[in-house]
Structures are given as C-alpha cells and as structure tokens.
Subunit: 217 residues, 2 copies
C-alpha cells in the first residue's frame, strides 16, 4: 500500500521504517521537498521510501499518518491540501503539546476539544482515527519490547471501516487484537490526548519512556 | 487514628467503612449534622463511626480525606474551616468533574491548573496529597478484586512525610508498595485529574468500572 507519513521526527521515522519493513511504499512529507531529516531517513531504506512536500506525500498516500507536532498539525494539513486528503483514512498520532511556556507542556486543545476532533471538523470527508499517541514511538511499532507485548492501545473515530483499517495496521505492527480497545467516536480523542500529562509524569518518575499502561479487570 | 471523611457519596462511605474495619475512628462530614446518608452510614458501623458537619469532622480528624465532588470541594473546605484543617494531612480523592452541560463531563480545573493545587494554594499549611482518584471506589479499598491486586495507583504532593502517611494508609487498604507510584509534587495532580476523561471512555467501552491501569515496562 502507498502510505504518507507526515512529519520527520522520531514518530514519523519510526512508523515510516516499520511500514517499509512490512512491504509498504512510504513517502515522508515535510515543509520542503529537500528536508535533511527526510532525506537521511530515505537513505537508510530500500527503494520503497521517498520524500516530498506535505502535499506530495498526501497525494501519494492511500492512507495518511499524521506524525507532526500537534501544535503544527492544522497548518500542516492545510499545506497537504484538502483535495489530497479528501476521503482518505487519516491516522492521527499527534499530541497537542504546547512547550512555549517550558516544561511541562500544556495542551493547546483540551477538555471540551481535542486536536483529532478539530481535524475531523475542518476536513469532514477525511476519516480520522486517533491511535498510538499514548506511548513512546519505539513501542508503537514493537509492542513486544515490554511485558511480552501484553499492554493496551486505543483507537477512536467516527468511521467503522477506517477503524478496521487502523486495527489491521496495528496488528501488523505486532499488537494483539485483544489489546486494541475501540473507545468509540472521535470525541474520545479528548481522553487520549488528556492522558499525556500523566504519561509525562510517569516518565518523569520512572526515568524511562519504555512503559505503557495495561487495562486490567 | 481519628480520621475525617468529607463527603457522603460512594467514595466517602466506601473509604469510611474500610477505615473503621481497620480500627480507625471515623467522622463523616457533610453540610448538616443530620445528613440522612451520613446517618445511614453510621448506622451500619460499630461505635467507631460518627457524623457531623464538615467543621465537626475536620476538627475531629488527625487526617482529612476529601471525598466530595470536585466542583464542591473548595466551598466544602471553607465550611470545614481553615483552623480545623491547618497543618493536617489532607488526602484528596476528588475529581473536578463538571456535569452541568451533561455527559461526558468537562473538568473545572484543567491543563495549567488542578483542583489539588488549588487546595494547596488556598490552604498553604495543609499537607495535600492527591491519591486514589483514578479508579472506582470499590477498588480503592480492595485492589485484590481484580488481577490479584496487581495494578497501579499514584500519589503526589509536596510533603514527603504526608506522602509516607498516605502510602501506609494505601498499604493498609491492600495496595502493594511496588504498585504505589510517587509522581512528585502536587503539580502532578494535573495528570491524575486529566486522566479522568480516558477513564470514563474506557468505562463506556467496557461497560464496567471494575478495571484499572497497570504500568508495565
């Protein structure tokens, strides 16, 4: 499948490399077609990797994965172009963390809003699914790194088919279907994004990002 | 020990009854000394239970446990009286859930603020510890109900001695010390309170409140 990865940070490069390992063709999108980090990422891959502008990548991808910083996401999606993302599944991994006042960050969308809802409202034909934003990038594509892969991940979105496609992708990353919890419609992204301050506190207390939560009952 | 439980809801009555079972003397505080729910709660207990106003209870307790609705907490603590709570450990279990616009609730303190911080700021001599707000009341005092008791609970607060007292209390409730994670100072209550929307979403998806999260690494 042709997949667009928007963003050149650790999440984008980790997700992109995993997708290539799984046999997909990936274009990493950034503000400029000659972004150094994107070119370095392509250099490490087989012929299945490419780089381009956000619009190039969005046009290329049958699925779009948003790995940009949450505070930049809305601008990035406008640069990607409404016609290039229309009707496509957009998996939103971003977190609206605002570091402008230092650490810890606050959330730029919060409480009665979420970034994923804002994306869905701004681009109503896009099928937005929130996923994977609740953990360190290394675990997203390699859950077996901890606790034999037995821990929880969440999805939410308005379109059942888009959530099914996302679930298949997560399973291909190594997630056991029993650990993928569908929380419901896209408004459930509020809880997923508002979990980040607790994630940051746990990270601060344990000095390691290689942890996740497992729902037990 | 003499302990004040502020609030007559399911959290207050559950915590109060457990404390009595453990041999403590408990006064349940409410707005009026003759609150029907408080009297009914006392009626079920041995001679170690009493009821009174918030001020009566706060004066009685060597430790204060706030089990009120978060949106009422600041008013309740003013009714309890600054002199009655001064210098004492206050364990804050409340969540600032605002249901005034229906379900799901929003948070009345959020992002750059938390209710626990507001309590600490308003009553600087009180030793505030946030604890137990991240789960259903039944699990707070009986963690072995699920997963053989192996799941996570969190504390935060500015005073190490107050956190040590809270940890001892949690251990007496059945919590294994390895599952009690100290997140740091009282500002970490932001993450603990902002977890509630995710808790509510998981509750909605699984149709049961008898779950918790376990940190795995």
């Amino acid at each position: 499948m042709n997949i667009a990865v928007l963003g050149t940070g650790s999440v984008g490069s980790t997700i992109g490399s995993k997708l290539i390992e799984l046999g997909h063709n990936v274009m990493m999108g950034s503000r400029t077609a000659n972004n150094e980090k994107a070119i370095a990422w392509v250099g490490k891959q087989a012929d299945k990797a490419a780089t381009g502008t956000f619009a190039d990548a969005a046009s290329f991808g049958q699925i779009i994965i948003n790995c940009t910083a949450g505070t930049a996401t809305m601008e990035v999606l406008k640069l990607a172009g409404e016609t290039n993302i229309a009707g496509k599944v957009l998996i939103d991994i971003s977190n609206p963390l605002d570091f402008s006042k230092g650490f810890p960050p606050s959330l730029s969308s919060v409480n009665t809003h979420s970034l994923a809802e804002e994306i869905q409202k701004t681009f109503p034909t896009v099928e937005v699914v929130k996923a994977l934003n609740t953990m360190w990038a290394g675990l997203m594509v390699n859950p077996s790194l901890i606790n034999s892969g037995d821990h929880s991940t969440f999805i939410c979105g308005n379109d059942p088919e888009a959530k099914s496609i996302t679930t298949q992708l997560l399973k291909s990353f190594g997630w056991d279907e029993k650990n993928i919890l569908d929380l419901g419609d896209i408004s459930k992204a509020r809880g997923l994004e508002m979990y980040l301050p607790l994630w940051l506190s746990i990270y601060g207390a344990t000095k390691s990002g290689a942890f996740n939560i497992k729902i037990v009952s």
